[in-house]
């Protein structure tokens, strides 16, 4: 029974975990790309990693916390411009190929020895190198606080302040994205998603709109990278293809082109992922199945099941949790 409660607690904790917020943020950005505009960004982890580096390195260079955040946003913006300029005039698949390779390039540069002084090479940047200025922004002071079964320190890496800040930023960005996507600007994006030639024929500069969506979603992705780095460290190998794949799952699970989809998707995804892994571990430890599914296999099986979930989702409920079924009827054209 104790074990059962522990599993539930860990699952519950995932709903408000900073990492959940980080993925929600990255998925909000990806939703602008794919959900609203139809852009295939297969390298959102590259934007996140670049955002994390931008934030971490700027902080280490002595810049104040808000400025370091702006540096992260600028890094995402520049990356989007560089990727978008040659590809957004071409067919959609080109962007997919370019983003997937560019994200890998960022990671390889990050873990190489040339910029080791700044990026920490393969081992990355330690949290203590860049977190002080963030912790200094906390109004909560020292001590611990419990809310129901959830108990964390007030200020620090895995703290209430990290959670409040991360979710506060997600709420702010969500409000902004909600406002812009329900506007005529958002309508142009949706038009481009449906058929960009039709939008061109109405006199709209499709390239400029696609670029705006790519930059905005990329900058939001970079912000997601900052949120990801705040409770952890900046490790290039932790922010790679698997991360992109999880962000896609989160976005599609919640429902592409819905406002709350990315947030709900992230919460449901990480809670279910935690429940699955802790549950499997408990089963492996306590039953005969342990001979087949050993504790050390749980991570691999978990990752595999995420893949299966993504496939089932795309096949059987492509509109996600919040998507509109009626709208979906015209998906296939």
């Amino acid at each position: 029974m104790d074990e059962f409660n522990r599993i539930l607690e860990q699952t519950l904790a995932e709903f408000i975990a900073p990492t959940t917020a980080a993925y929600a943020m990255a998925a909000i950005g990806l939703n602008l790309h794919f959900g609203y505009t139809g852009l295939l960004n297969m390298g959102q982890a590259g934007f996140m990693l670049l955002g994390a580096y931008g934030f971490g390195i700027a902080t280490m260079a002595g810049l104040p916390f808000p400025v370091a955040i702006l540096v992260a946003l600028a890094a995402g913006t520049v990356f989007a411009l560089i990727l978008g300029m040659p590809t957004l005039q071409l067919r959609g698949d080109y962007l997919a190929i370019v983003t997937i390779s560019a994200a890998e390039i960022i990671r390889w540069i990050g873990r190489s020895t040339w910029l080791q002084e700044w990026t920490g090479g393969a081992s990355g940047l330690q949290g203590r190198d860049y977190k002080d200025s963030f912790h200094a922004t906390s109004p909560l002071g020292d001590g611990r606080m419990a809310l129901g079964p959830l108990e964390y320190i007030n200020t620090g890496s895995d703290s209430w302040w990290t959670r409040i800040f991360a979710w506060g930023l997600v709420a702010l960005v969500l409000l902004f994205v909600w406002l812009i996507t329900r506007s005529p600007w958002g309508r142009v994006l949706k038009g481009i998603r449906e058929d960009e030639d039709a939008v061109r024929a109405l006199g709209k500069n499709v390239y400029a709109y696609k670029m705006q969506a790519l930059v905005l979603g990329g900058a939001i992705g970079a912000l997601g990278g900052v949120l990801y780095a705040l409770p952890l460290a900046i490790a290039p190998d932790a922010m790679s293809r698997t991360m992109t794949f999880f962000v896609w799952t989160v976005m599609l699970l919640g429902g592409a082109a819905t406002v709350f989809g990315p947030v709900l998707g992230s919460m449901v995804f990480f809670a279910a992922y935690m429940l699955m892994r802790t549950g499997m571990r408990a089963v492996a430890d306590n039953t005969g199945i342990g001979d087949v599914i050993t504790t050390s296999n749980v991570e691999q099986i978990g990752g595999m099941l995420v893949g299966v979930t993504l496939m089932l989702l795309v096949i059987f409920r492509p509109q996600g949790i919040l998507g509109n079924k009626r709208e979906l009827a015209f998906n296939a054209h």
Partner: protein
């Protein structure tokens, strides 16, 4: 609107037109257009009194095949010009070139005297030349009304910097919605305003695409097979709409296979075959042209196509007389 001083008709043809006007139920604008076209030679590439679009030496090759090879074409302002020709004649490709959706191997074209060649599709539309597509491009997961509003021009809310401040664009949006509903009502789509465009029938999508193009207040509207797939009951009113656009002063260039429709509404017909313009003239005389019958109608030519009942006999007689003068 064409101006009077640009009319270069002979005294006889003016008198002819006046006589025709006395019996034909046409508007003043239409009369003027017909009078001007009456002076035009019935030859490919003929000069027009008020050419709004002029194309020169436009060539487009796909591999070894020449899809478009238009030496010279002028489109009369304020008229309904039909572009006809067998499948694969290059009509759609020519439309794509004129509207910036494709790039030619060579050639140039102008709109109102300004060069359009090399301009992007969006720039062409902004200048006032708006087209529809043979394969309809209804934006499926937008509602019918959203399709229309998307076409509204100069919408401040389409600027990212203003988009999150609804008070900056709500007024424009409201006016655009009223205008959209008016146009939709004309096309009998107003009851579908909140349906997804993807739920419309093929014919309704054609109508929506045309209605959407009209939202931009174009100077020239280019329709690629606007009647294809449209419910026959609606075709008649669609033809009426196109005529009304002409009577409001809009220039219409359309591709169509339905010869009845072409005869019924066009003021001028341009015939393409194998990429070239092979004939030009008023509908009645063009359809009697042996080159056209050979190139276009071929074995499918039936006497029905020669039915003159849709045209005023007096105008027809005049056109025939002119044909004989050549």
């Amino acid at each position: 609107m064409p101006t009077d001083e640009s009319i270069t008709t002979t005294p006889e043809s003016v008198a002819d037109t006046a006589a025709a006007a006395a019996v034909a139920p046409v508007t003043t604008h239409h009369q003027q257009v017909l009078a001007k076209l009456a002076t035009v030679d019935h030859v490919p590439g003929a000069a027009k009194p008020d050419a709004i679009i002029t194309a020169d030496h436009v060539t487009r090759r796909f591999g070894g095949m020449t899809a478009v090879d238009v030496d010279h074409l002028e489109v009369q302002e304020g008229a309904i010009t039909a572009l006809i020709g067998p499948n694969g004649a290059g009509k759609t490709t020519f439309f794509n070139l004129l509207t910036g959706f494709d790039r030619p191997n060579q050639g140039s074209w102008t709109f109102q005297g300004r060069s359009l060649s090399g301009k992007s599709a969006a720039a062409v539309a902004k200048i006032g030349v708006v087209r529809t597509f043979q394969l309809t491009k209804a934006l499926s997961r937008l509602t019918v009304l959203q399709n229309m509003l998307l076409a509204s021009t100069h919408n401040p809310g389409e600027n990212l910097w203003l988009s999150w401040l609804p008070f900056t664009w709500q007024k424009h949006e409201k006016a655009a919605t009223e205008k959209a509903m008016e146009i939709l009502a004309r096309f009998k789509l107003d009851t579908k305003a909140s349906d997804f465009a993807g739920s419309l029938s093929g014919g309704q999508r054609k109508l929506l695409e045309m209605a959407r193009a009209l939202m931009t207040d174009p100077t020239v509207i280019m329709l690629d097979e606007p009647m294809a797939g449209v419910n026959p009951a609606l075709v008649q009113s669609l033809l009426g709409h196109i005529q009304a656009l002409r009577d409001e002063g809009m220039t219409v260039l359309f591709v169509e296979h339905d010869m009845h429709a072409v005869r019924h509404i066009s003021d001028w017909v341009v015939v393409m075959a194998e990429g070239r313009i092979v004939a030009e003239g008023p509908p009645a005389s063009v359809m009697r042209d042996q080159a056209v019958v050979d190139a276009y109608l071929g074995a499918h030519h039936d006497t029905d196509l020669g039915d003159d009942s849709l045209l005023d006999p007096k105008i027809l007689a005049r056109l025939e007389a002119e044909e004989e003068k050549r």
